[in-house]
Symmetry: C2
Subunit: 486 residues, 2 copies
């Protein structure tokens, strides 16, 4: 179905059937998102009432639209959808996204109605996303077709979500954290196109390097696992399964119209396939940030560079608890790093920079560790995010000493320039040594987790906490070990 998916995810023209100018209606939210999001193709609003919506000429029926339509997005009431699909078929539309709910997730009548949709789509050669979906986001086509107006940057992470609301929240996080997206699909009830089909499309999509799945109902179980296992050897597949417990299954049954499978078997199958199975949504994003941005570590030996002691201690603890080693480093390395540090530094791994302001020390320490054969990855704690503390200091000092205004402004921009340089240099070092450096920010900032550097193969990544950094590294080590296993 490769080329057929292209009509869905790279359409040249889109119709919104049920488009509206009434704020808060699905037909308004999705239509205005497509328009305001800058979709470069042709957009046709279709509705019974208005002659034009947001200044764009509207049509009463899809068949009245003058040009060709690749993709139709449908928000009209459930009972109207079969008729709308017939019209789409006659019009020669290639793909439809049915936002409307009230199908198999409700009752017997809903299941029957959904079956009708599928048979119309089969007959009319329409590819059907949903129904009961939040929509799709195709950053490379500049197509943002969800009710929530979130526009993540272009990137290499594809995300298929059976839950719209969870998917949208995760995409919002992705945007805030700077995780680049190649595709988001709210797959909804998966009446026609299942998770397996989407995976097969993504397997061939050159822009997608990492796949995230949120699934409540595994359909075509064997095929799902075989496909996921095959793809996972090339593109890591990260899975969050909703409905793992009795309570979760009860909640799930009520809203997607199907019972969850046996979680024990599912987890065992994931393990065997080397999938990155996670239990909580935040981990989906943390892992996707790392796997789409960093080289994989060869083994589990970690070097730690920290701005201060306690930070290093808890990171070392977490490493050991998660099966990562923090090995001793050679005397020569200690000597070389020591040239940049006061005499009372830690003289070992973790390298405690004891709060140094020497601009070279952190990068020297990171590189000295990266060049060691016995180190597979470096965790860098607290260099990025220090700027926030400089800013606070500068603000305070400005308040009580107006004579130094220029000097203070200079200090702040110096700090910002240093942080920028540090991030660029980490990207360069990762390319040189083909080892990951995982950063932990000293403070929560609005800059996001992933900090891409123009022209670089890898993007430095900075988590909010040491525990997140260690967790991600431990999962990467396990994934690499799986790939290396016969």
């Amino acid at each position: 179905m490769g080329t057929r998916f292209d009509h869905l995810f790279s359409p040249r023209s889109v119709a919104v059937i049920g488009a509206s100018s009434n704020l808060g209606k699905w037909g308004q939210m999705i239509f205005s998102n497509i328009v305001a999001g800058g979709f470069p193709g042709t957009i046709y609003p279709v509705n019974q009432k208005d002659q034009s919506i947001f200044g764009i000429p509207a049509y009463r029926h899809i068949e009245e639209v003058p040009g060709h339509v690749d993709l139709a997005i449908i928000t009209t009431p459930a009972e109207s959808v079969p008729g709308v699909l017939e019209g789409c078929g006659r019009k020669g539309v290639k793909g439809v996204v049915i936002i409307t709910s009230g199908f198999s997730e409700t009752d017997k009548a809903g299941r029957d109605l959904e079956a009708r949709l599928v048979s119309i789509c089969r007959e009319r050669n329409l590819l059907l996303v949903g129904p009961n979906t939040m929509g799709i986001i195709c950053p490379y086509a500049d197509l943002f077709a969800t009710g929530a107006h979130i526009r993540p940057r272009k990137g290499s992470v594809a995300f298929i979500s059976q839950s719209g609301n969870l998917g949208v929240q995760l995409i919002h996080w992705a945007k805030q954290q700077g995780v680049g997206i190649s595709l988001f699909v709210g797959s909804g009830n998966e009446a026609m196109v299942s998770c397996v089909d989407y995976m097969e499309y993504l397997e061939r999509d050159p822009r997608t390097r990492v796949i995230i799945l949120y699934i409540e109902t595994v359909r075509r179980g064997r095929s799902f696992m075989e496909t996921a296992a095959r793809i996972n050897r090339v593109k890591p597949v990260i899975v969050l399964k909703g409905g793992r417990t009795e309570a979760g299954r009860a909640a799930s049954a009520s809203h997607t119209g199907a019972m969850g499978g046996e979680i024990v078997f599912f987890k065992a199958a994931c393990r065997q396939a080397g999938l990155l199975e996670v239990n909580v949504p935040s981990e989906l994003l943390d892992l996707s940030a790392a796997l789409s941005s960093l080289p994989l570590p060869r083994k589990n030996r970690v070097g730690i560079v920290t701005l201060g002691g306690g930070f290093g201690v808890i990171t070392a603890d977490r490493c050991n608890e998660r099966g990562l080693l923090v090995p001793a480093i050679p005397e020569e390395t200690v000597t070389r790093i020591g040239k940049y540090l006061p005499p009372f530094w830690s003289k070992g791994n973790p390298v405690d920079l004891v709060g140094t302001h020497d601009p070279d020390a952190p990068l020297v320490a990171v590189e000295e560790l990266l060049m060691l054969d016995g180190i597979d990855a470096v965790i860098s704690l607290g260099i990025v995010g220090r700027l926030e503390f400089i800013r606070l200091l500068v603000q305070s000092t400005r308040k009580i000493d107006s004579s130094q205004a220029d000097f203070l402004a200079g200090l702040e921009s110096l700090g910002a320039a240093y942080e920028k340089k540090y991030i660029e240099k980490l990207a360069e070092l990762m390319e040189t040594y083909e080892k990951p450096v995982i950063g932990v920010s000293l403070s929560r900032t609005d800059e996001g987790t992933v900090r891409p550097v123009d022209g670089r193969k890898y993007s430095p990544v900075f988590y909010q906490t040491p525990e997140d950094a260690v967790n991600v590294l431990a999962r990467m080590v396990a994934y690499r070990a799986y790939l290396d296993s016969p």
Copy 2:
């Protein structure tokens, strides 16, 4: 040592010995923080060079200071500190905070020097914090005496940290998350005053309701556990132990000058004492936010109210996985909630609001659950934080339709007013039913985790993820069970 600690933490006058106007020096950072932080008492800079610093008259020796000095903060080099302390003693200073490092955390000479400090302080009746500390923060005295210019709001969480850098980072998070602080002490090498002494002070401090400890070295082990266990029955004690593993101990030994105890015994003792032991720093803050803001749940039965399905599924899963129940709710409750929702809602627990915009539905659902005997706590997902999505929608629509500007502005302020009212109402409901409501925000915002409401006993709390909310609730249930145990 109760009254003596008051001189430290509620001083009327403070001298900074080693004060400086050179940005980046400890003597500058701490002095400017105290001044800019608005300390209402008298401040005396003491240094060898300047006649005045930031317009405040400076003195060459502590003994030249004209008025009385309660607290001296010392940043001069290690070898000068004994002489400085002698001067403080003669001057009648009551307490000293020694920021300077280079003592027992370094070598034999450092240990000897530290022993001298202690004997001088004993002889001169000086209470000694540190040495090798980042300083102290006493919000109720408006005294911010750390190098990092972070000024958390007044509150009920006291934090004793053996690591300065970790402490400072956590205080920064606390400020960002809105967790109110009663006291922060970087206890440093604890040469004279140990964690046990601080705990005994906090036991009697009426402003402190929750105690956080970051410890690498447990001194006076038996006394520590007995004190912590006693206090924990009244004020929850949350502990993060650094140096739990070989790697962590190695890192710790290099920077606090002492080896960690046996972690297995430590953990067993914590369990027996019902302490809230955690493995990662983020959990320290998550727990302190909840324990300082919410009533304790009686048991483990959770009601879930969610804006959308998937969110509810993964929360229910997490609840079951963490030992919390998500029980069925009575038919009458379903009927009453159903009046506010479309017919296709979940009709059970989790209550899936199916994205409703009915302003009453979320609060009705929360209250209906709270009033049930079989429900001990409610998790509320996605109502707060929805405003961010409204803002995005409004921004987009404004871009493509200028005719609705007033209406759009109104929509945004309506959304903000609703969120405010929702938070106020949750505070009221918690007081009425004496049960906690734990919120999860639909989007990351700058508003912080804790959202205090004027005049209310409890403060609503909103975490970024369902997993954090469930974890906190599970820990609260366990703590309550410990308190209820004979």
